[in-house]
Symmetry: C2
């Protein structure tokens, strides 16, 4: 005999589909919502429904944008068309780079990285769209800003090979010791990169 009514188990099951949420966390969240005022779960539900219906991908760079506009704020700004495109994995990377206020070009969001183990090939990323874009947009530099991970490096290398025939300058973000880091605790690979990339001062 089931002790819990269906709505409770349904919500637990739905929450368990989210990454990093197991059965214990799901039921803890469910019971938290049961105890809290109606507002909390209603606002969450409304935000969930609005997420897909009122967001879209920018037709140019595939960053997230409001569904009322075809093109994101960055792509719509003519000042940002300075011939530099920064290729990133995810929309969150755009936010990270924008927060530095040090980049004044445009972006291109791949929506993932190449990962043969997970069956993610070039056709699953926005690579074709990038190539098409380079045909029409005057570009002088492409910054391959995928993550400094194995998959990110592999994706950058793949893009470099694909884009080489176009003869555009391609760069990768500098690798080395992070600000505030400690030499003693730096891993071997980071230290190797930091040594290899040492600069005159």
């Amino acid at each position: 005999m089931p002790i819990l009514p269906a709505p409770v188990t349904n919500l637990s099951t739905a929450l368990e589909r989210l990454p990093g949420i197991g059965p214990k966390t799901a039921s803890r969240l469910t019971f938290f919502l049961l105890r809290s005022p109606d507002d909390v779960s209603r606002q969450l539900a409304e935000a969930l429904l609005a997420l897909k219906s009122s967001t879209a991908f920018c037709k140019v760079c595939f960053n997230i944008t409001s569904s009322s506009q075809e093109v994101c704020d960055v792509c719509a700004n003519p000042k940002r068309a300075n011939g530099t495109i920064c290729v990133v994995e995810e929309p969150l990377d755009v936010i990270a780079i924008e927060s530095t206020a040090a980049f004044s070009g445009r972006y291109h969001v791949l929506h993932g990285v190449l990962s043969p183990i997970e069956g993610i090939g070039p056709e699953h990323l926005r690579i074709r769209e990038l190539l098409e874009r380079l045909r029409t947009e005057p570009v002088t530099e492409i910054i391959l800003a995928t993550n400094p991970s194995m998959e990110g490096d592999a994706t950058a290398l793949f893009l470099k090979q694909q884009l080489a025939p176009l003869g555009i300058r391609m760069t990768r973000l500098a690798r080395g010791l992070p600000a505030g880091g400690d030499l003693e605790y730096a891993d071997q690979s980071t230290l190797l990169r930091a040594l290899a990339g040492r600069q005159d001062m």
Copy 2:
């Protein structure tokens, strides 16, 4: 200039209100939902909306029940009216005890524990309702099954004092070493309880 459209930040904010979910986890979940098919967020939203509208608390024991029934399955079952009431903190505790199939009485869910630090007094728990219930229901034993924590013990003690005038037998779950536990790793307090409660064999 905000880079993310409002629906994205709205969902992040709503998720951050849940316990154990910080800003980083909230945006990770939001971007996961953005990438996944519409179904995932729609089903989650529907489950959230159904949670409050189709669940209710049992009028007798305050366990969670479907809103179509006034009284939960346990309270509705005349075989469970055997004169024993098990007082627990949360509905999840009912499930835990039911899973042992060793208890055949009824429950009473307090919906919390006394916690002066968090400002939770007796008036915030279902204690008044328990007292009312004992006036009409023939009860011979009350098992005070609050958690073996400081707050749980304090709540059990408070209930014992409140219910003492009724002259009903009151018990508390046994304390000692957990099954599969290791004496070497048992904490002092558990070991003290295990020694004090040792039984003839």
